[in-house]
Amino acid sequence: MAKVVLQLGELTCPSCMTKIQKAVSNQDGVSDVKVMFNAGKVKADIDEAKVSGEDLGKVITELGYEVKKIKTKEIA
């Protein structure tokens, strides 16, 4: 398991959160997704065997949002 933090470019609307939340949550191997509009961050727990931080970055980019930085940290 790992914790991934994606730093996004500026989000223009609070409703963007709902879209990102749904799209990221729908990915296999992802749990506990938090989209932080004010901080412009997405946090999620991932099963690295199934999905990577980069995969989530791609999903968000496809929705039309810029991903600036992806940080993955192993958790027990």
């Binding site: 470019g9 500026e10 223009t12 609307c13 609070p14 409703s15 963007c16 709902t18 879209k19 749904k22 799209a23 729908n26 938090k34 989209v35 932080m36 509009f37 004010n38 901080a39 961050k41 980019t61 496809e62 929705l63 039309g64 949002y65 810029e66």
Partner: protein, 631 residues
Amino acid sequence: MKFNIWVQKNQNKMTAAIAILIVISFIGKFANLPMVETPAMILASIIGAIPVFLHAFTALINKVISIELLVTIAVIGAFVIGEYEESAIVTFLFLFGSYLEQRTLQKTRSSVKNLTQMAPTTAELVDEDGSVSTVDVDDLDEGDHVIVKPGGQIPVDGKIIEGKGYMNEASITGESTPVEKSIGDKVFAGSLTDNGTITVETTSVGEDTTFGKIIELVEEAQDSQSPAARFIDKFATYYTPAVLIIGILVWVFTRDFPLAITVLVLGCPGALVIGAPVSNVAGIGNGAKNGILMKGGNAVNSFAKVDTLVLDKTGTLTTGKMSVTGLDHFGDDKNADMALLSAVEGTSDHPLGTAINKYITDQGITETKDLPELDTVKGQGLQSNDSRILVGNERLMKHNGVTISDDARKVIDTKMNNGDSIVLMAVDSELKLVVGVNDQLRSDAFEGLTAIKNAGIKRVVMLTGDNKVAAQHVADRLPVDEVHAELLPEQKVDFVKKFKEEGHKVAFVGDGINDSPSLATADIGIGMGSGTDVAIETADVVLVKSSFDALAHSYILAKKTVANTQENIIIAVGTVALLLLGLLVGVIHMASGMFVHEFSILVVIFNAMRLLRLKSFKKSPKLDVNQVKTA
């Protein structure tokens, strides 16, 4: 989806282009140039529809019916029936509204941004060979040594291993008065050295530092929803499709297409969706600036409803620091007896002993050197092997047959009535010294508790493990309604449970370590810590700046935040109601409806921003981002 990102990035420029095209079109209209007027409006509509359509589309593929979908349908509808002016102005107002919303929201988010900007990014790492190199804080590990020069920012949490100086810990505690620190003292990432060069051994870096945790907590808290926001979010998911259906029904029954699409525009739940979260963000943001961490909308909401405030005594209402209130002598050589007492107390690390030792040393009296061996008598004090010297409470004296004269009795009783703890010293069965020691009341406790009661707390209860006399003495000097003394931690929990069962909303204020069970049991646990991990993690509200000003401010802030949320909901719902009324009487059209909508969004944002300006009832120090930038 590069186009999508391009549009997202250039949305504001596109909005400006639409504005220019609309102006050109109006010029064409007044100059009677139909060749300019209509194409400019058509172009403006198309450019404006692109970002709105893209937002609507990406939402729809994620099964979300968004506001943008309503606007897209309305714009396409207006376009189809040839109302190019309407379609262009509606998209412009919608996008311009988003721009203004974005700009003003940035202000409410500024507290988090300021905090983030204050986070250190680089460190001066001391290598094994003693050379110093500048590295990114992310590259540091536990145990690394970093050097911080005067005016520099401490990059990690750690312990000073060399040097000393004054630290400004405003970013952690909100308190800008510098604190002197030397070898062995803990320092926090984000604080500044006012003077002195120090070498720090790293204990934690980045997100694991106290400062990192504060930032993370504020970020998460600002985005966590209050119950009102959650309700509105749920409501909006049904509300938007409902507006869509109503629009269709209006068209089916009236065959009035312009009316149907006007209903779609008017039904946009913009202010309703943003009203509650923006109050939350502003309220929590104000707290963060004042050294108050409120863990999310739920905490704010529950705190605002609290009517019973339960406090621990030692370390909360009192400073937890003992000091001598008076020393009375009954022998011949006062100085020699004081020196002996100081020497005996010097062997113990009991808080009473430390206070006495400090008091005697401050009088300029030095300890006697030839001290016999001492034994500890549990619960009574200390005595020498031969029982010649006795230092402790009355029980110790009685056990050893020391007589207490009438004069000494009077002194002891007076001190006890003052709530002092008593320490006696006898030599050769003769009472020599009577010392009163007291825990200092926090200087701001009275004012803070008075302010919090004025703000709506009905009952202030003090729970303490200390003796009844000392507890009552503290309570007598404060606006405390109830005192329960000589309690074990589990008995404190029982009291909190009892108050809750009686139907009260209970907040418990403690130092976050010994009081964890009570903090967890209460509706709201308030940690009066000084930036410690435990305090940050266990409580719902953390007062990093451990003061009663902060306690009162946090309660007033929670109440104002909840009231502000309610005001915003009223503004939002009221706007939709007025717009529908305006539509019925024929004074509202598509573009004017959109204008009023966008205006109402700005009104709720500006209303929330009032929370950012809420000052402590006493002026409290603020975090100053410029201080970091210039350091």
